[in-house]
C-alpha cells in the first residue's frame, strides 16, 4: 500500500474511534459536561491528563527544539514535567476536596469576591485561546504534509471532529477520547524511536541507547561523545554543554514549572475523579505517562541530530536520499550552494552555512530518515493529530465553562436553570471552536511569542493565588487580588516590551538581571507572593465561613 493510502486509513480509523466514543458518552447534566460527573477512574484520568497536556508542540516540535538547543533544551523537559510534582502535592488533592467545577470557582469562592472571579475568568480565557490557536494550526499542518490537502481544509476537518465530541459529550466525551488519543500518540511516538535506537545503537529502549555506543556503521564510540565531536568540528557549541547562563535557565525552568501547575485546563482534570486519593493517584499516573514521551524526546533529539549531520555534512547534494527531496518540497529543508562546490556545508558560521533545517523535521522525518515502513510514517500523522486534538478539546472546555458557569451562572445570570446553563455551555464551545479555527486558518504572527506569555501569566497569577488560598487561612481578598494584579502587570509589561515594543533589544545584554522574557514569570510569581503577604497583613482577615472552608479542604474524607 502507498504511504497516502496508509495515512488515510490510519487517520480515518482513529477519527471513527473518536466519534464512536463521543456518541457513547453523551453528557446529560452540567456535572457531566463540566467534570464528567466526577466519575473518572484514576488510571483513565492519568491517561486523559497526559493527552490533554501533550500538545502538537510536545509531539511535533519538542524533540527538534531539544536537538538544536542541546543541554539547554532541558528547560522544556524539566519545565513541562516538574510542575506535576507541585500539582500533586500542593494543588490537586485540595481542589478536588473543594469539589466544584472550575478554577475561577475556587478563586471566586475562596476570595469571596466577584472581582477575583472575573480576573480568573479573563486569565483562563486568555491563556486557553493562546494555546488553542497553536493546536488548530498543528492540525492543519499535519493534514497538509501527510495528506496533501490544503491547510485550511485540514483546520476545518479538525474543527469538525473536536466540535462533534466536545459539544456532545463535554468533559465526559473529551475524557474518554483523550484516553484513546493518548494510546494513539504514544504508540506513534515510540515505534520510530525504538526502531532508530536499534538501528544506531542496538538498544531496544531509546533511553538506554541515548547513553550507549554507536554501531560500527555509525562510527562507533559513545553517541553523545560522537555528537559533541561533530559539533566541535562544525563550530557549534558542544551538545552536552549549555550556552545560556545558569541564572536564565533557572528562571525559565521555574516559570514553566509554576506555569504548568497553574494552567486551568490541567487543573480541572483533577476535578473529574471521585476522591482526594484518586486525585493524588491520577497525578502520579499522568506524570508517568508524560514521562514516557518526555524521556524519549531527548534520545530522539540526539539520534536524529547525529544522523542528520552524518548524512548531510560535506556530502554531495545530488546524492542526498529521497526524504531530503520530499521535505525540500515542503520548504522544511533548504539548501543554497554558496561556494558552488555541489556539496552541503552545514556549519555554525551563518556566512558559510548552506543548509537550513526546520526543527519539526526531527520528528516528522525521523521514520523516513531511519527508512521505516510506510505504516509507521502514517502512524506519526495520526499521532500528531491525536496530540493536537486532545489538547484543543481540553482548552475549549475551559473557555466554555469560564463563560457558561463562571461568567453567566456564578455572576451575571444566577437564576438560569441547569438545562439553560448546559445549553449556554454548548453554545460557548461552538463559538470557541469557531474562533480557534479562525486563528488556525489566519495564525497571528505572534503565536510563538505568546506561549511565553501563557506560562508567565499562569505562573504569576493562578499559581500563587491557589497555593496561598490553600496554605494560608489568613490570606484575604485584598491580598490575593493585589498580588495577582501586580504579578500579571509586571510579567506582562516585561514580555510585551521585549517581544512587541522593542524586539531588537531582546538579548542577554538588555535583559534585567540577565533574565529572558521566557523566565520572567518566575520573578512575577515571587512578586505576587510578596505583595499578597504584605497587603494581607494590613487588611481584615477573611470571614469565618471562608476560613472554615480552607480548614475543611485540607482534610480529606469529610462530608461536604
Amino acid at each position: 500500500m502507498s504511504l497516502q493510502t496508509w495515512t488515510y486509513l490510519t487517520v480515518g480509523l482513529t477519527f471513527i474511534l473518536y466519534i464512536g466514543i463521543a456518541v457513547w458518552s453523551r453528557a446529560s447534566s452540567t456535572k457531566e459536561f463540566y467534570i464528567a460527573g466526577a466519575h473518572v477512574p484514576p488510571l483513565a484520568n492519568g491517561l486523559a491528563t497526559a493527552a490533554d497536556w501533550m500538545s502538537a508542540a510536545s509531539f511535533i516540535s519538542m524533540a527538534g527544539i531539544v536537538s538544536y538547543m542541546g543541554r539547554d533544551g532541558s528547560v522544556y523537559l524539566m519545565g513541562w514535567t516538574g510542575g506535576y510534582v507541585l500539582l500533586a502535592l500542593l494543588i490537586a488533592p485540595y481542589l478536588r476536596d473543594f469539589g466544584k467545577f472550575t478554577v475561577p470557582d475556587f478563586i471566586g469562592d475562596r476570595y469571596y469576591s466577584q472581582l477575583a472571579r472575573m480576573v480568573a475568568v479573563v486569565c483562563a480565557i486568555f491563556v486557553s485561546f493562546t494555546y488553542v490557536a497553536g493546536q488548530m494550526r498543528g492540525v492543519g499542518v499535519v493534514f497538509s504534509r501527510f495528506l496533501e490537502v490544503d491547510i485550511n481544509l485540514g483546520v476545518l476537518i479538525g474543527m469538525g471532529i473536536v466540535f462533534f465530541y466536545a459539544v456532545l459529550g463535554g468533559m465526559k466525551g473529551i475524557t474518554y477520547t483523550q484516553v484513546a488519543q493518548y494510546c494513539v500518540l504514544i504508540f506513534a511516538y515510540m515505534v520510530p524511536a525504538v526502531f532508530i535506537s536499534i538501528l544506531m545503537t542496538g538498544h531496544v529502549i531509546p533511553q538506554l541507547g541515548f547513553g550507549s555506543e554507536l554501531n560500527e556503521s555509525f562510527g562507533g564510540g559513545y553517541l553523545l561523545d560522537r555528537l559533541d565531536g561533530l559539533h566541535e568540528e562544525l563550530g557549534f557549541a558542544a551538545y552536552t554543554s549549555g550556552v545560556r547562563s545558569h541564572l536564565d535557565v533557572l528562571f525559565i525552568t521555574g516559570a514553566l514549572i509554576m506555569g504548568t501547575a497553574g494552567l486551568p485546563h490541567v487543573i480541572i482534570r483533577f476535578f473529574t475523579v471521585p476522591s482526594v486519593r484518586a486525585a493524588r493517584k491520577s497525578a502520579g499516573y499522568a506524570l508517568l505517562f508524560i514521562a514516557i514521551l518526555y524521556t524519549t524526546a531527548p534520545a530522539i533529539a540526539a539520534f536524529a541530530r547525529t544522523n542528520l549531520i552524518n548524512t548531510v555534512s560535506n556530502a554531495e547534494y545530488v546524492s542526498m536520499p529521497s526524504w531530503f527531496r520530499t521535505w525540500e518540497n515542503t520548504n522544511l529543508i533548504s539548501f543554497e550552494d554558496k561556494n558552488g562546490d555541489g556539496r552541503i556545508q552545514y556549519v555554525a558560521d551563518p556566512a558559510v552555512n548552506e543548509l537550513t533545517v526546520d526543527r519539526d523535521i526531527i520528528v516528522l522525518a525521523n521514520p523516513e530518515i531511519a527508512q521505516l515502513p510506510n505504516w509507521v510514517i502514517a502512524l506519526v500523522a495520526a499521532g500528531g493529530l491525536a496530540a493536537a486534538l486532545s489538547t484543543a478539546a481540553g482548552l475549549l472546555l475551559v473557555i466554555s465553562t469560564a463563560i457558561s458557569h463562571d461568567l453567566l451562572k456564578r455572576n451575571l445570570m444566577p437564576d438560569i436553570s441547569e438545562k439553560q446553563e448546559l445549553l449556554f455551555a454548548r453554545i460557548a464551545i461552538f463559538f470557541a471552536v469557531c474562533i480557534a479555527g479562525y486563528f488556525g486558518i489566519n495564525p497571528p504572527g505572534f503565536v510563538a511569542q505568546v506561549v511565553a506569555f501563557a506560562f508567565g501569566l499562569a505562573a504569576s497569577s493562578f499559581f500563587p493565588a491557589i497555593v496561598l488560598g490553600i496554605f494560608s487561612t489568613r490570606m484575604n481578598k485584598e491580598g490575593a487580588v493585589s498580588g495577582m494584579v501586580c504579578g500579571i502587570v509586571f510579567t506582562a509589561i516585561y514580555i510585551v516590551y521585549f517581544k512587541f515594543i522593542n524586539p531588537a533589544a531582546d538579548n542577554a545584554d538588555h535583559w534585567w538581571l540577565g533574565i529572558s522574557p521566557e523566565g520572567i514569570g518566575t520573578l512575577g510569581m515571587f512578586l505576587n507572593f510578596a505583595v499578597a503577604l504584605l497587603v494581607c497583613r494590613f487588611t481584615a482577615p477573611p470571614p469565618q465561613d471562608v476560613q472554615a472552608m480552607v480548614l475543611d479542604i485540607r482534610v480529606p474524607g469529610k462530608p461536604d
Binding site: 532541558s74 516538574g82 545558569h246 502520579g284 514521562a291 482534610v555 474524607g557
Partner: protein, 96 residues
C-alpha cells in the same frame, strides 16, 4: 470547628511536603542547573552525570516523588481515619 486531630494531621502533611519538595528542589535546580557542570565530571556509561540529570534523571525522580507522596499520605490518612469511601468500587460491587 477544627478539631485538634485535624491540626496534627495538617502538621504531618506539611512535614511530608517539606521533605519531598526539598528533594524536588535539589534535583531540579541544584543538580540539573546550578551544579550541572561540576556533576558533568562524573560519567555513567555514555552520559555525563549532570547532563543525564537535566534530560533524564530529574524526570524519573519526579515520577517517583509523586508515588512516594501517595504512599505517605495513604499511611497518614489511615492513622487519622480519613480514608474516603471508594465510590467507584462500591458502585461496581452493587452492580454485580
Amino acid at each position: 470547628m477544627p478539631g485538634n486531630t485535624d491540626n496534627l494531621y495538617w502538621k504531618e502533611n506539611i512535614r511530608i511536603l517539606t521533605i519531598l519538595l526539598s528533594i524536588w528542589f535539589v534535583v531540579s535546580f541544584l543538580m540539573s542547573v546550578i551544579f550541572v557542570d561540576q556533576l558533568d565530571a562524573i560519567r555513567i556509561g555514555g552520559f555525563k552525570f549532570g547532563f543525564w540529570m537535566a534530560q533524564q534523571g530529574s524526570i524519573y525522580i519526579y515520577v517517583i516523588l509523586i508515588f512516594i507522596y501517595l504512599k505517605m499520605m495513604d499511611k497518614l490518612d489511615r492513622k487519622y481515619h480519613h480514608e474516603e469511601k471508594d465510590i467507584l468500587a462500591e458502585e461496581e460491587a452493587a452492580g454485580e
